[in-house]
């Protein structure tokens, strides 16, 4: 057993769980993969077999229509037994179907957070907490500059920014990742009575959200025509400088991402409003999660893993980063 992580081996292809003969969120196609959620940086195409929540499997199929592999749906809180160990998928609060993975064998336990947030979004269930010996946590925003206002305040800001734009005859444009943030923004705006026009990448995922009980009666696809007066447009951030956005002469661009705390993102995305509405835990939530799980040891990964581990160690918490190499920044924050 690896000294650092029980249940998992660090292999060149990714983290491997021998008890289940499966890789955990492997970056490239694997024979068998346990997936925490369906974002592309965790759910590579072409896996032989998936072990994931039904929602994640459905989203994976939608995003990989030609995929012919095998899928084993595992519901939240239903233990899945392997050789000498079980794992349980617990809600991560990140996006629809998002799960933390809780490994145990009667002696020891490990909680892998995947991507998570503790604040309650509208389109994902609240994150669960389970005490574990080892916490393998994401640390995308593992620096104290990344502190986000409460969810309610951010939702209010989103609605206000859209209303103000509409009132002066401009089109509100929400830059939001296609899976998760777009549907979340559409749900918030629907409740405020603001109809939305969704980019195809987000629109095509709505059936999966509808299966999970979410309704978007005031949303329509961009394919049916550009936004009209009173409608808000929701597109992925990489559309910010494409004609879809740029040809709207009168617009107010709202960048909805944890990275919006950086003033430089105003220029990066030609944005008018910076809204740190994130599907990731901010620095405070990362600390809260560590406290709630109360592990003997923390291992950090993604984002500011080295810094977050150092900060934890400075608070007398045994912590280290999974790798000593700085990582690529993620897209879906």
């Amino acid at each position: 057993m690896d000294a650092l992580l029980p249940f998992l081996e660090a292999r060149p292809e990714g983290l491997y769980a021998p008890a289940f003969r499966a890789f955990l969120d492997p970056p490239a196609a694997a024979e068998r993969a346990i997936l925490s959620h369906a974002h592309a940086d965790h759910a590579a195409p072409g896996h032989g077999e998936l072990l994931a929540t039904p929602e994640t499997i459905a989203l994976y199929r939608r995003r990989n229509p030609d995929w012919t592999g095998k899928a084993t749906a595992i519901r939240y809180d239903d233990p899945f037994t392997g050789r000498g160990a079980t794992f349980t998928l617990l809600s991560s609060g990140h996006i629809l179907g998002g799960a933390q993975v809780f490994f145990e064998d009667g002696e020891k336990s490990l909680l892998y957070t995947g991507d998570f947030k503790r604040s309650r979004g509208r389109t994902a269930p609240q994150a669960e907490v389970r005490q574990a010996d080892v916490l393998l946590t994401e640390s995308t925003f593992g620096l104290p500059v990344f502190r986000f206002p409460p969810r309610g305040a951010l939702e209010h800001r989103l609605v206000t920014a859209c209303r103000e734009a509409i009132d002066r005859g401009a089109t509100p444009v929400v830059l939001a990742y296609a899976l998760g943030k777009s549907q979340e923004a559409a749900a918030i705006l629907a409740e405020a009575g603001i109809p939305t026009v969704l980019h195809g990448a987000a629109w095509k995922l709505l059936p999966e959200y509808e299966s999970a009980g979410h309704r978007f009666p005031t949303s329509r696809a961009y394919e049916t025509g550009p936004p009209m007066a009173g409608e808000a447009l929701i597109v992925p951030p990489n559309c910010a400088r494409t004609p879809v956005v740029q040809r709207l002469k009168s617009r107010s661009v709202i960048y909805a991402s944890g990275w919006a705390v950086r003033a430089a993102s105003r220029a990066d995305f030609d944005a008018d409003v910076l809204l740190p509405l994130s599907d990731h835990a901010d620095f405070e939530e990362l600390l809260e999660h560590v406290a709630a799980v109360s592990p003997r040891r923390v291992v950090t990964m993604h984002g500011y893993a080295l810094d977050f581990a150092r900060i934890l160690a400075g608070r007398s918490i045994r912590a280290r980063a999974l790798t000593d190499r700085a990582e690529r920044r993620e897209e879906d924050a």
């Binding site: 206002p149 409460p150 990489n238 400088r241 950086r262 003033a263 220029a267």
Partner: protein, 578 residues
């Protein structure tokens, strides 16, 4: 949204924040104007300077000289975060001031947040100004740090943000000095050209603001020995761009030295560099030569390394060199004279320098900025005729592309960089880059290189990943060969910046190593052997010609290509003639 207290530094910070939050230039101007409008006297002067980014007037040539490390240590002491975390936060956010403000408590209703509430009375504009000015006089970093901590402890998040930004020398609110000039014009309903002129002439945006408010702009007169901004030229790629208007342009050779303004009155001489630094003591031979000239004047020109010619060589030299008794030497040699306070006599003997004047901005107490180039040139020629040993540029005219090519070739043969084109009817636009002046430098060759690291730029490109380190292929590896700053549009830099953030593999302070994926075409003047880069070579004056999305890293130029170019073009000069 404003604090309503015109004594409070907070009003300055809020005005800057309001400007930063706007994309449009006009609305930025309006935000700054709104902060200036209710003010008068010293508070107005200080506010105008702080909106422009420094407590000092340009003519004071002062900086608070606060190092990044001192600022970071003060931020650490005030926020309670260790230095390493402060450093990581600044790198993550891309700006130390912003990072520090994010480490302050969140505003009420915005949630938790540790840290400390501001203590003591609110910061007043006048005392902030005094403290910032005092920093310039402190010798010890510890003294500076203590003074900065005292300010930050009494700051709110937004005040801390702009104090740190001011101290780090870059506000990054997207408002340049012209924007502040226009804000003054707007606040007090004055003509913006008149505001710009007054600012240029007095070298103090604060004094300018007060004069604008009091309707005394015309009382501001040009003063010698206050540094003035330089008029800059727009680059052209070839003669075709100027041929249609050739009759309207004077042509000069483009010298390979450093730009300087020479102020002279009686025996007093001052030389100011492009960065408005006083470089007088570094060039005693120029100072002496100018001091001997009669009259009072301000000249624009170039400091070049000088190659004096023997009588024998002069007999064979071209007319211009014969007349001047020598010719400009390479920038490579001049470099050894730069950045020195007092050059030792051996160096003065080994690498003499000269000042070649090409514009006259004031003469006998009269500013000539507004006069057309032809009139300024006439004044320059008159001064040269009166003074022995004052070198001035040769002026050429041309009527077609063929003549231009010949002039260009001649300039290059004489060791100059290329040609300058100056509109005969143009005024001197101090501190501005315009189409009235053009420059044509021929890039001799290009290489396709792969970007291996990126860094944030400064000034206008602050916060953007605009500085690229690049490499050529050496077998399976990439070896660095240079670093370039510009050549792409802001739009391209932004787009590339987002991409580089995604492909970052490691961070080192403000720099990021990136996965070698992006191919650029770079032009350069020469290749030199160098220990600075792993390739063993360095490109001199590299500039990015274009992105090459059509090329993969495997298509990039190789070290062998570099060696071949070097041997063809550079190496023969190093060997004795065979």
């Amino acid at each position: 949204m404003t604090s309503g207290d015109e004594n409070a530094y907070r009003a300055v910070a809020e005005a800057l924040e309001a400007a930063a939050g706007e994309k449009g230039r006009l609305i930025k101007i309006e935000r700054l104007a709104a902060a200036l409008r209710p003010l008068e006297g010293a508070r107005l002067a200080i506010t105008a300077r702080l909106l422009a980014g420094s407590p000092f007037a340009e003519w004071e040539q002062q900086v608070t000289s606060t190092g990044w490390a001192t600022l970071a240590r003060a931020a650490s002491a005030v926020t309670g975060w260790d230095l390493e975390t402060i450093r990581a936060c600044a790198a993550a956010i891309g700006d130390l001031g912003e990072a520090v403000s994010l480490l302050f408590p969140l505003p009420p209703g915005e949630g938790q947040g540790e840290g400390l509430p501001a203590v003591g009375p609110p910061l007043a504009i006048l005392e902030v100004d005094q403290t910032l000015r005092a920093l310039a006089t402190f010798r010890k970093a510890a003294e500076k740090q203590k003074a900065i901590e005292d300010l930050l402890r009494r700051s709110s998040a937004i005040e801390a943000k702009y104090l740190v930004k001011t101290l780090s020398g870059e506000l990054r609110v997207g408002a340049d000095i012209t924007t502040v000039e226009e804000a003054i014009a707007r606040a007090f309903e004055r003509d913006r050209e008149e505001v710009a002129r007054a600012h240029r002439d007095c070298g103090d945006i604060g004094e300018t603001a007060v004069a604008a408010r009091d309707g005394r702009l015309d009382a501001i007169r040009f003063r010698l020995f206050h540094p003035i901004g330089f008029m800059l030229a727009t680059p052209i790629d070839g003669p075709a761009e100027v041929v249609p208007e050739l009759s309207g342009f004077a042509i000069e050779e483009k010298f390979d030295g450093i730009r300087a303004h020479a102020h002279k009155s009686g025996s007093r001489v001052a030389l100011f560099s492009r960065t408005l630094d006083d470089v007088t003591v570094g060039f005693p031979e120029i100072t002496l030569a100018l001091a001997l000239a009669p009259g009072e004047f301000l000249l624009d020109g170039e400091i070049v390394a000088w190659k004096a010619m023997s009588a024998e060589a002069l007999a064979k030299a071209d007319e211009a060199s014969a007349k001047a008794g020598g010719c400009p030497d390479s920038f490579f040699r001049l470099q050894r004279r730069l950045g020195r306070k007092a050059p030792p006599p051996e160096l003065l003997a080994e690498i003499p320098v000269a000042f070649i004047a090409y514009d006259c901005l004031a003469r006998g107490g009269e500013p000539l900025f507004e006069k057309p180039w032809t009139e300024r040139r006439r004044n320059l020629e008159e001064i040269a005729a009166e003074s022995k040993g004052l070198l001035i540029s040769e002026v050429f005219r041309a009527s077609g592309a063929g003549e231009l090519e010949a002039l260009f070739t001649r300039a290059r043969e004489r060791g100059n960089e290329g040609l300058m084109f100056k509109r005969l009817d143009s005024s001197y636009q101090a501190g501005k880059r315009g189409k009235a002046w053009r420059k044509w430098k021929k890039a001799l060759a290009t290489l396709d290189v792969v970007v291996t690291a990126v860094e944030q730029g400064h000034g206008k490109r602050a916060g953007m990943l605009s500085d690229y380190t690049f490499a050529v292929r050496d077998g399976e590896h990439f070896v660095n060969i240079g670093k370039a700053y510009s050549g792409l549009t802001d739009e391209e830099i932004r787009r590339m910046g987002a991409h580089f953030r995604r492909i970052t593999t490691a961070r080192y302070g403000p720099a990021r190593a990136v996965s070698p994926e992006v191919v650029l075409e770079v032009a350069f003047d020469t290749i030199q052997k160098s220990n600075r880069h792993k390739s063993g070579f360095a490109l001199r004056f590299p500039r990015i010609v274009r992105l090459r999305p059509d090329k993969r890293p495997a298509d990039a130029s190789t070290l062998q290509d570099v060696i071949e170019i070097y041997e063809q073009r550079e190496a023969p000069k190093e060997r004795p003639p065979s």
